[in-house]
């Protein structure tokens, strides 16, 4: 990746807490105007990385630049070019939504009138106008997150860090959050997003860096990562009374590898190559043989599969391996 266009660049970051190595040589690079998803389970080092990149923490070794500024030596200047939304909605419960945003604007050293205008604008954008003069204490989890995100946008920072922006949100709030983040990115903001939700990285990120035990163990687009663990799978379920063995013989003709069968659930599946055209061929073959199916589909590997293949363990979303997130 060309250095000139990197909005975020980290090389060999190391950080230990006592005997725990939170970061063990983490390197990454995010091009301007793109989204990098930092994907990993609890305790992988994602939050530590974000904290270093946002000047909250000094690395033990390695160095990093954000917006062309060194995160340690030029920390003061850097703070006016980044926005951070952490894992916990860092908003003041005993202030109203409006007061929270105005305060952040003032602390970004914006002129008072502009800080106020900006606060109102963001509240409207984030559907919080009705709740603007209510104490944040009365907000729902989703509203708090939206306000928190709004707070990190008060100054339209060119580089934005979102640390698990949807953890703990209900599905509807999560989708709403995704929409907002999507729009920000369209506006040209460079974004580093950490998540333990595989679908979130898939949906929002241009590139994904898979983090485990303090370093990046794989990096690429979602498609590239999926390709690394093999192609698509065809999965079918035969109708009750239909011949599963016959169906799997047909699959075998088209498959790259072995056909997996589960007679109890009347399912068969196999890795294939060839996409929708192949699916049509299989349907024809099934028809000719007279095997009736309830369900037939092409399933692309999910990032869950990627994670399992790369790390040897499934992504633990509620694991207790977290030294950093406590």
């Amino acid at each position: 990746m060309a250095n000139g266009s990197s909005a975020i660049r980290a090389e060999g970051l190391e950080k230990s807490y006592g005997k725990t190595r939170a970061l063990d040589g983490l390197s990454l690079s995010v091009e301007e105007g793109t989204v990098l998803g930092l994907l990993g389970p609890n305790g992988a080092g994602k939050t530590t990385a974000v904290r270093i990149l946002t000047t909250l923490l000094k690395p033990d070794a390695g160095h990093a630049e954000v917006a062309g500024l060194d995160v340690v030596r030029q920390a003061d200047e850097l703070r006016s070019r980044i926005g951070l939304t952490g894992q916990y909605a860092a908003v003041d419960e005993y202030l109203t939504g409006y007061e929270n945003l105005e305060m952040v604007g003032r602390l970004y050293h914006l002129p008072r009138a502009y800080a106020r205008k900006r606060a109102r604008e963001l509240l409207e954008r984030f559907d919080l106008t009705d709740a603007a003069s209510r104490l944040v204490k009365t907000y729902s989890g989703g509203m708090r997150r939206r306000l928190d995100l709004a707070a990190s946008l008060v100054f339209s920072p060119p580089v934005l860090f979102l640390d698990e922006p949807t953890t703990g949100l209900d599905p509807r709030s999560r989708l709403a959050m995704w929409d907002i983040i999507g729009e920000l990115v369209e506006g040209g903001t460079t974004l580093l997003l950490t998540t333990q939700y595989l679908d979130e990285a898939d949906r929002l990120a241009d590139r994904i860096a898979v983090v485990d035990t303090g370093r990046v163990i794989a990096e690429g687009t979602a498609d590239e990562l999926k390709a690394r663990i093999g192609g698509e799978r065809v999965e079918l379920t035969v109708s009750e009374g239909s011949d599963l063995a016959a169906a799997s013989r047909i699959l075998e003709r088209h498959a790259l590898g072995e056909v997996r069968m589960d007679s109890e659930r009347r399912e068969a599946s196999a890795t294939v190559e060839g996409g929708a055209g192949l699916l049509a061929a299989i349907v024809r073959d099934l028809d000719t043989t007279g095997v009736e199916v309830d369900d037939l589909g092409l399933r692309r590997p999910t990032l869950d599969d990627v994670f399992l293949a790369l790390t040897g363990h499934v992504a633990e979303t509620d694991g207790h391996r977290d030294e950093e997130a406590a």
């Binding site: 904290r51 946002t54 000047t55 909250l56 923490l57 003061d76 200047e77 703070r79 006016s80 980044i82 926005g83 951070l84 952490g86 894992q87 916990y88 909605a89 860092a90 908003v91 003041d92 419960e93 005993y94 202030l95 007061e99 305060m103 952040v104 003032r106 602390l107 970004y108 050293h109 914006l110 002129p111 502009y114 900006r118 604008e121 963001l122 409207e124 954008r125 984030f126 559907d127 104490l135 707070a151 946008l153 100054f155 339209s156 709403a176 929409d179 907002i180 729009e183 920000l184 369209e186 506006g187 040209g188 950093e324 997130a325 406590a326």
Partner: protein, 273 residues
């Protein structure tokens, strides 16, 4: 989400002022934040007030009859101790407030902003100063209701208020240091108070130190609370203050000289979670 348009990316330049300007301006923004919260969490203020009121009533009516003081009535003797204890205990709230900000991740937000590093601490201690003075005013009213008859002139009152403000500020910074060191709200709640009990009771706040056994009397006579209490008592009752005023002043300044840089450096280095 509503289709009310994109988040504007219009760039307004931040104001360009000196570091000293921002240290004060940012501190004021945060002091205001803490002040407008006080009436929104009335239970905190109520408890901060009830406790010293209880002390006034207990000492005035339960213990007072059994405590001998020379030269004045017990309630006149007592109130200086109450004011000082109220202000000293008020410092704990500073530590609790900071620990809460740390625990809720608010300090993370503040530390990622281009604001003065000292502002979170000065904002908190200044707001606590205002709150403490409010509680002291309530105590004065309670004192007057139960028979307290101060004899200070204007200068005496001014010196009393000045000294109490300074003590309040100094103990707030001690509280801030404790809060930043311990960081857990619950732990700060107990750690913040525990050392204050011997300090305020083994002093001249509620009794004359003459009756204490040798080593305890030596401690009581030389610790800061006694100095401030003696000074405030002298001022309020229009009695000689001797050196107590200056020694009290020196204690407060000494505490500030240690705790301000200590807590600012703790705040800078604090790796919140």
């Amino acid at each position: 989400m509503s289709a009310s348009g994109r988040v504007s990316t219009e760039q307004v330049k931040p104001l360009n002022r000196s570091k000293a300007y921002w240290a004060i301006a940012d501190g004021w923004v945060l002091a205001k934040r803490n002040l407008i919260q006080i009436p929104r969490i009335p239970e905190l203020l109520v408890f901060a007030t009830i406790q010293p009121v209880m002390f006034v009533l207990l000492f005035r009516y339960v213990f007072g009859g059994a405590i001998d003081v020379t030269g004045t009535s017990y309630v006149n003797f007592l109130m200086a101790g109450i004011f000082v204890q109220t202000v000293a205990f008020g410092g704990v709230a500073t530590g609790i407030g900071l620990a809460e900000d740390l625990q809720k991740g608010l300090v993370d937000r503040f530390r990622s902003l281009p604001m003065a590093r000292s502002a979170v601490l000065t904002g908190r201690t200044v707001a606590d100063l205002v709150r403490n003075m409010f509680v002291v005013a309530v105590m004065l009213v309670v004192g007057l209701l139960v028979g307290f008859r101060p004899e200070a002139d204007l200068a005496g009152w001014a010196a009393t208020i000045g000294l109490l403000l300074l003590l309040s500020f100094a103990f707030s910074w001690i509280g801030a240091t404790i809060g930043l060191l311990i960081r857990s709200v619950e732990a700060v709640q107990s750690a913040g108070f525990i050392w204050l009990f011997p300090l305020t009771f083994a002093s001249s706040a509620f009794v004359q130190t003459d009756g204490m056994p040798g080593p305890l009397k030596a401690f009581a006579d030389h610790q800061p609370i006694t100095q401030v209490v003696d000074a405030v008592r002298g001022l309020l009752l229009d009695q000689p203050v001797d050196n107590h005023g200056w020694i009290a002043l020196a204690w407060c300044i000494g505490i500030l000289a240690i705790c301000i840089p200590l807590s600012v450096s703790l705040y800078r280095r604090t790796a919140t979670r």
